[in-house]
């Protein structure tokens, strides 16, 4: 096994024995299940009302009534849950001085960062995959368009990757896990609020640029089923940028 794979395997091993992982996983799955339940019941009530008013059987748009609100809510839930998964990654290594082992092993800082990021990304994608049960179960009872669901999941995966990269960066900045978690909330929420600032500035060049920097419009397009290269480029470049800064931070600790 190469050192990177070894490190990924070790991180995954540490996740599965960590209570934080189970709490975050349970809360995430509970919220997504609860949201699905709410939206389905709501859609059912709308169907009944529709039937009473028009006295006809109408095909309801489940994409709009169920999946879009679920995706929108999960987007926000991720802001609060994902920093819990990433806070440990570097803060604990520094606190317990195990970072000394990693930095004196024949493995580069870029490999350490990518291994840590990959491991937490696997964990997140696993949890996200489990929420896929909702559309699968619903597909037995009803018909809907799968395309926006797939782009919605792509959006959640990309958004999650970006949040996790912010969390990795925050974790490199401190020895304290709580501080790391709050720092990543801070980074993510600032990026989120840029959307509001952009909207306030309106259709000016600055407004467009600032709106582009926030993930709001990008995730919105993906949730609505629009697959555009610029959104994917946004998430990937944001993720790489955060990991790059994290790399500089870890490297700079060695010089101080």
């Amino acid at each position: 096994m190469s050192p990177v794979n070894t490190l990924i395997a070790k991180e995954l091993r540490c996740f599965v024995v960590s209570p934080v992982f189970y709490v975050v996983g349970a809360v995430f799955l509970f919220i997504s299940g609860f949201l699905a339940q709410l939206m389905v019941v709501n859609a059912g009530q709308q169907a009944i009302r529709f039937l009473q008013m028009q006295n006809t059987y109408a095909q309801l748009n489940l994409n709009e009534l169920v999946f879009r609100p679920i995706f929108r809510s999960l987007d926000i839930v991720l802001i609060f849950l994902l920093p819990m998964l990433t806070m440990r990654l570097f803060a604990e290594e520094r606190k317990l001085r195990t970072i000394e082992l990693l930095l004196t092993s024949p493995i580069g800082v870029n490999e350490i960062i990518s291994a840590k990021f990959m491991s937490v990304l696997f964990i997140y994608l696993g949890l996200l995959g489990l929420t896929g049960l909702t559309p699968i179960v619903l597909s037995f009872y009803s018909a809907f368009n799968w395309d926006p669901i797939l782009t919605g999941y792509l959006g959640l995966a990309l958004q999650g990757a970006f949040f996790l990269a912010c969390g990795v960066l925050a974790s490199t900045l401190t020895e304290n896990q709580i501080v790391a978690a709050f720092l990543s909330f801070g980074i993510i929420i600032v990026v989120w609020l840029l959307g509001g600032l952009g909207a306030m500035l309106g259709d000016t060049t600055l407004g467009t640029v600032i709106s582009y920097l926030s993930f709001v419009e990008h995730s919105d397009r993906l949730i609505r089923g629009l697959l555009e290269a610029k959104d994917i480029v946004y998430y990937l470049s944001g993720t790489v940028l955060m990991l790059f800064i994290a790399h500089r931070v870890v490297d700079s600790h060695r010089w101080q």
């Binding site: 050192p3 395997a9 540490c14 001085r97 000394e100 082992l101 004196t104 092993s105 024949p106």
Partner: protein, 319 residues
């Protein structure tokens, strides 16, 4: 094997080590001594490529630490001050992880692991979680971690801290048995440990090397005169004065008991034969006559309690 060439490390305005130069030959055990905060750990961290030096170069096994850090890291086993252990892993999981991290070929991981577990007596705890082990076992797992990939160079930062006396002896024996095939640098503040296992010691104080030599050479070079302890059965009242009258004797003082006396004579003179003949001639009953040498503790204290800017004391052959 290891060449440290004029390295300086600054943290902002604080100078941790300045112009430190020494080398370690293949198969040698170098002891690194110094009071707390003298710069021992900083020097070791620079050699292991954990941090770069502000100035100067370090070469390990022919590879420059700055130019080829991966080559250097692969050849070094490093036990930091606090062993870098993951509390949630078992001993075998941890050692497998470190072995793979150090690019040990997969075919050798299990045989090397069995070997170090045997070497360090970890057999009884190998399947236990590290977080549940006692401090002594943690230290030994830390040592196992440094040895797992069979590196030619070992850097051990206070390897016997936290061990009980029996374990300390075992670990010292282990370290001695590694010399020859391995090159070792170990730091310690236990001076008898350095005397017991090191071929050579470097004493560092406030970031400067103040002495570098074998433990025996160091203590003999710090002497200003030759001292001997003499014990006789029936000393007479004017016994000390009579001893002082021997040609070449500078001073005679009473020892711990009336029977013993400490005789001081000029540096480089061996008066033992003369003194023994004199004592036997006096018929006072010679019981013991032995030369006194400075212990490493005394050397260490002398060197590290000197003035603000200690001048390097080096064997000319070492430069």
């Amino acid at each position: 094997m290891i060449t440290v060439h004029h390295i300086t490390k600054r943290y902002g305005n604080h100078v941790a080590i300045e112009n430190v130069t020494f080398d370690v030959k293949q198969g040698e055990i170098l002891g690194f001594l110094g009071p707390n905060g003298a710069g021992k750990t900083t020097t070791m961290r620079i050699i292991t490529c954990f941090m770069p030096a502000s100035e100067g170069t370090v070469e390990v096994a022919g590879f420059d630490c700055f130019e080829h850090p991966q080559e250097v890291k692969q050849r070094i086993g490093y036990l930091p001050e606090s062993p870098p252990l993951y509390q949630e892993l078992t001993v075998t999981e941890y050692l497998t992880f470190v072995g793979q991290l150090k690019r040990l070929p997969a075919s050798r991981v299990s045989s090397r692991m069995a070997h170090v577990i045997e070497q360090l007596g970890l057999g009884t705890v190998q399947h236990r979680v590290i977080g549940h082990l006692s401090k002594g076992f943690c230290q030994r797992v830390g040592l196992a971690q440094a040895l797992i990939h069979d590196p030619p160079v070992l850097i051990l930062d206070e390897p016997t801290v936290g061990l009980d006396p029996k374990q300390i002896i075992e670990i010292r024996e282990l370290i001695k048995s590694l010399a020859g095939s391995h090159t070792l640098i170990l730091s310690t503040h236990i001076l008898s440990e350095a005397t017991a296992i090191c071929n050579r010691v470097v004493i560092i104080d406030r970031g400067h090397i103040v002495a570098e030599d074998t433990p025996a050479q160091l203590s003999s070079r710090m002497r200003q005169s030759e001292k001997m302890s003499l014990m006789v059965k029936h000393p007479s009242d004017d016994w000390l004065e009579r001893l002082a009258s021997i040609p070449g004797v500078l001073q005679v003082v009473q020892g711990a008991t009336p029977e013993t006396s400490i005789i001081e004579c000029e540096l480089g003179q061996d008066l033992r034969e003369v003194i023994s003949q004199f004592v036997v001639g006096q018929g006072v009953g010679l019981l013991e006559l032995k030369p006194l040498s400075l212990s490493l503790e005394e050397v260490f204290l002398k060197l590290t309690q000197q003035d603000e800017h200690p001048t390097p004391m080096k064997d000319p052959s070492q430069v």
